[in-house]
Symmetry: C2
Subunit: 290 residues, 2 copies
């Protein structure tokens, strides 16, 4: 980046600071004050012409990167707090980098995340590759992993699914942060993840990690108006919460939360997807294996 120093100065303004940020952008490391002792950490990338196409505004791409990471923290039941951002570009100007960072900062402000540091660099070819590492605080009731589902648990998903990439919803969605936190804080979920690679594929991952099989009825899951089954079951990038619970949750689920759909249950097994009754669930493609 020929203009890196100028960019670093602009970034300090774009990202601002937070109350726990003791040393901010511009030094060798940032220093943050951590009040809880259980820290959540995740990282995700967005790559031009892989995770978004070249017509996408840099601001929207930056926003997507932040939202994807917030969704990962939501899927543990935690609270996102800080982020570290690296952006590498080729054939884009400084304005593109700043707009991308403004997208990260804008979505970060909305979801309580402060960017505390990072790096910019040049790519040898045209394009943009960006990585965001998110840091969050775990629920004091414990984090919800993928591996805690047990036979007898109910299978739920929030919201609607399908057609996220085609519709552009993948660029600007609502991470299910309050829903995830509610489930963790009240110890209502036995296993959880966010639907990034397809409802069926992510369900099978939860089942494998937990060592159960799932009897599923995906036709019960609400679809977006522009989506249709069975494609919607493997589209991916829905960023809804997929989780299991030993209790029925319909009566305790707050009204202002994303709608809840019970679409299966856990049975003895080893990661299989089954029809109700136990025959093997057959579907051409479970999701996006990338």
């Amino acid at each position: 980046m020929p203009e890196e120093l100028k960019i670093v100065r602009a970034l300090a303004d774009i990202f601002g600071g937070g109350r726990d940020l003791r040393i901010g952008i511009g030094d060798d490391c940032a220093e943050i004050g951590v009040s809880k002792n259980a820290l959540l950490v995740a990282a995700d990338q967005v790559i031009e012409n892989i995770h978004y196409d070249s017509r996408t505004a840099a601001y929207a791409a930056g926003q997507k990167l932040l939202l994807r990471n917030v969704s990962d923290v939501a899927a543990m039941g935690g609270t996102p707090r800080w982020a570290v951002l690296t952006v590498a570009v080729g054939k884009h100007d400084a304005q593109y980098v700043l707009d991308f960072c403004r997208g990260v900062a804008g979505a970060g402000k909305q979801w309580g995340v402060t960017v505390v540091g990072g790096d910019t660099a040049a790519l040898p070819q045209a394009g943009c590759v960006a990585t965001l590492t998110i840091l969050g605080e775990a629920s004091s009731s414990g984090s919800v992993t993928r591996s805690g589902a047990r036979a007898g648990d109910f299978l739920y998903v929030t919201g609607k699914i399908g057609g996220s990439f085609a519709s552009g919803r993948h660029l600007d969605f609502t991470p299910r942060l309050k829903e995830g936190r509610f489930l963790a804080d009240h110890r209502l979920a036995s296993a959880m993840l966010d639907v990034s690679d397809g409802l069926l594929l992510d369900a099978s991952r939860l089942a494998q990690a937990s060592g159960v099989a799932l009897e599923i009825e995906p036709e019960k899951v609400p679809l977006h108006a522009d989506a249709s089954a069975p494609g919607a079951w493997s589209d991916g990038e829905d960023y809804e919460l997929l989780f299991t619970s030993p209790k029925p949750l319909e009566t305790v689920w707050p009204e202002d939360f994303a709608p809840l759909c019970r679409w299966g249950r856990c049975v003895e097994g080893d990661g299989e997807l089954l029809n109700p009754g136990g025959s093997r669930f057959i579907c051409g493609k479970l999701g996006y294996e990338h």
Copy 2:
């Protein structure tokens, strides 16, 4: 990455776990137990054909990425503990990605850093772009920033400089971790950074951040046998510690540390580099402005 799931499984083996790692690779987030409340965070990238050339072994490139980040923590006087890694490749096979990760893991083991999570993705073009975010614990005596130098302080640098990229030393160097920690723990350094973009450029950054001028004698700084002045003063990638101290340190500097060189002092000013006596220091190029 067509083989991502296979890679994720291999990575859990390559990176292992650590005693504070409560939830490891394979969930939406990792969870770590943090015992100190001041957390250091930094991120750096390595990009094929920018930070290393295509003949470089993937293992060596991964090693460099880890070492660069350890050097950033050393420059604050802290202790590196955990890392999050993202790797995006095009036209490289899974073996390349695994070798890269083994390089990160190998250097991590040597320097006490556990990789706790990350992501792999495909690039639309040939090449490799990798980001590592490092987390560390701050010295309980406080971190050393770039901005604490005051008029009257002495200017020091560790080790030898010059010719790092041409010689290949940039791929396998010794981050000055014990030296940085010693300086922070005993409150001996008023400002510090690591020499990444060139001795003169990084000196001018320290001076600017601190609001002082520096009277310098760079000809006193030891050079590697394959390097010569004045080029060595702006080569960069030396990863030595550049710092200021209100006290002379020669008599307290441990014998098994990297050699210490006093090569200037801080005077009233605003970021200028000066000759002894106060005339402007003139040099064609201060360092690598990227």
